[in-house]
């Protein structure tokens, strides 16, 4: 048995030995990363020791590992794209990327991956780059445990933290992103997973999907992004257990859904947003077990939305639970908890004995005349709502939750 094991090991040995390790740094065999990258062969590891490296644009065009010890700093001197990867099976770990250049019409990044598959970028810190990490026409990439800090002072030349364009199967996990235009932007990117990232204080969207199908994002935190999160023109997107918080402003939404189809929004928390969810032209969406707490509007659903279902959600402390510009009679509301529902439960089955109408008369008024919001919490608005609740006449008649929950669902 031992002999067999030994022979297997001996067979493997050449494969292991052929991968060399090239050391870069002061007093090491290579003084610059560029010379080491040129000298390296496929499968080698280039180990860079701590220090500051100003080498302009570095290009990795063969499969290898680039590993930083003690976070060596790669400085782009505000002129260059710092690292460009054009080969498959490349791993870059443990670097500080600083001061990337800016493109005029082209997108310049701290790390760009172009036409390459199976590239892994992990435990890097990227500061003051136009785009942080940029995947273009690439597949099976992994981006994890990176910290990406943009410079809002760059204003218009500030790009996105992590950008994927025309990609498939990119995994983006455990990153922190702030100060960029959009935190994470997926454009024509499919079958990707975005998990456990913290995305805050970006100028526009925390997360932005355009024409990106069959993606999932879960357990991310989106905090104080200029306009919240926008998921648009996509289908089959699963959004689960995320936290959407503090998107304040007239054009800010916790989650903006536009032209979306067949997607699930499950177990998320929306709190302190001007509008928690704004839906336009979106169909066959499922909202289950989400918590809407203390938002201006919990839901703004436009009449162009049909066949959506809202089941088992909690609506607590929102100024308006639902606003719409139409009838919404092709959407279903079932067994949600509404703190504004003043129902009773005589048969003690846990659901209210009277249906609840989530659109208040005052919400309809404000929808037509936004300035009327001044009257929020005035006795007049309260009176109108009460009267409408007793004798519904103006609010959409078929927009009702027939079995509102009596107690908040435990989510």
């Amino acid at each position: 048995m031992r002999r067999l094991l030994l022979s297997v090991l001996l067979c493997l040995a050449p494969a292991v030995l052929s991968a060399a390790e090239l050391h870069v740094g002061a007093g090491k065999p290579f003084a610059t990363i560029r010379t080491a990258l040129t000298a390296a062969h496929d499968g080698d590891t280039v180990t860079v020791h701590g220090g500051v490296y100003r080498e302009g644009n570095l290009v990795i065009d063969k499969p290898l590992m680039l590993v930083g010890l003690d976070h060596p700093r790669l400085d782009g001197a505000s002129t260059d794209e710092i690292l460009t990867i054009t080969a498959p099976h490349v791993t870059v770990r443990g670097f500080d990327f600083q001061h990337g250049g800016t493109g005029n019409l082209t997108d310049v990044a701290g790390i760009k991956v172009a036409n390459a598959h199976h590239v892994t970028l992990e435990r890097n810190r990227i500061t003051d780059c136009s785009f942080g990490i940029y995947f273009s026409k690439s597949q099976d990439g992994i981006v994890r445990d990176n910290e990406i800090h943009g410079s809002p002072a760059r204003a218009e030349s500030n790009g996105n933290g992590i950008h994927a364009w025309s990609c498939e199967r990119i995994a983006i996990a455990n990153n922190r992103i702030d100060g960029h235009r959009d935190g994470i932007y997926l454009e024509f990117a499919t079958d990707s997973a975005i998990a456990r990232n913290t995305v805050e204080d970006n100028l526009r969207y925390g997360l932005h999907f355009m024409f990106s199908h069959r993606n999932a994002y879960r357990e991310n935190t989106f905090l104080r992004n200029g306009a919240g999160v926008a998921v648009m023109y996509s289908r089959e997107v699963r959004m689960e257990a995320n936290h959407f918080s503090r998107s304040w402003g007239s054009a800010a939404y916790g989650l903006l859904l536009k032209d979306m189809v067949d997607s699930q929004i499950i177990g998320n928390t929306f709190d302190h947003n001007s509008t928690a969810v704004c839906m336009q032209n979106s169909n066959r969406m499922t909202f289950e077990r989400n918590a809407f707490r203390e938002n201006g509007w919990a839901l703004q659903v436009q009449s162009s939305c049909t066949d959506n279902s809202f089941t088992g959600n909690n609506f607590i402390g929102n100024s308006f639970d639902l606003a719409t510009n139409g009838q919404l009679d092709l959407n279903r509301f079932d067994n949600n908890y509404w703190d504004k529902a003043e129902s009773y439960d005589l048969n003690r089955d846990g659901t209210g004995d009277t249906p609840y109408r989530p659109v208040s008369l005052f919400a309809m008024l404000v929808e037509r005349m936004p300035t009327a919001v001044l009257l929020l919490r005035s006795p007049l608005a309260h009176f109108l709502d009460q009267a409408e609740r007793i004798i519904p006449s103006l609010t959409p008649d078929r927009l009702i939750d027939l079995k509102p929950a009596m107690h908040p669902h435990s989510l």
């Binding site: 019409l105 204003a155 218009e156 969207y205 199908h213 306009a227 023109y233 054009a251 536009k258």
Partner: protein, 166 residues
């Protein structure tokens, strides 16, 4: 008394003048303004467009295909005047009839129209060389009626990024 009369005359003149300011496009506040079609916040100063209706109403767009989609949907008469941002000059508007357009896959416009507008051929060629050459030069009628443009240029993805889905 006289001074009162002249002051009120001035006031009236002032009011009358403000009422009659010729309609012109309004500067886009990047990072704040929202596209009237796709609702995205405008952020890229190379791109942007506006529609100005006969009544003086202004609609802002982040990309030319949003403007076209909006125009096709609303169809107001008389037709509103369309303006487009000069790609080289932030917040300088060109009337679409006077602009020349470069359609190039390397142009990463907000909604994927890949169209940028320029005031003259020199500007356009400079941008084109920055992108490594290629692309199509189009005029406004080519964009409005892509079918007729196909005879002169092979404009594949014109104004239809939304169809680029797999």
């Amino acid at each position: 008394m006289n001074s009162l009369r002249s002051t009120s005359a001035l006031l009236f003149a002032g009011l009358a003048l403000t009422g009659c300011t010729p309609a012109k496009p309004q500067a886009i506040r990047y990072g704040q303004d929202e596209c009237a079609e796709c609702k995205m916040t405008l952020v890229n100063p190379h791109y942007g467009a506006e529609l100005l209706t006969a009544k003086g109403k202004i609609f802002k767009f982040d990309d030319l295909n949003c403007l076209l989609a909006f125009q096709n949907k609303t169809k107001t008469t008389p037709a509103p005047q369309a303006y487009i941002i000069d790609c080289n000059r932030p917040n300088t508007f060109l009337t679409v009839e006077h602009a020349i357009f470069l359609q190039h896959d390397g142009l990463r416009t907000p909604m994927g129209s890949h169209l940028a507008a320029f005031a003259n051929v020199t500007d356009l060629e400079t941008a084109r060389s920055q992108l490594g050459g290629g692309g199509q030069i189009l005029r406004w009628p080519d964009i409005l009626h892509p079918a007729s443009a196909e005879k002169t240029a092979t404009c594949k993805s014109c104004c239809s990024a939304a169809q680029q889905t797999p």
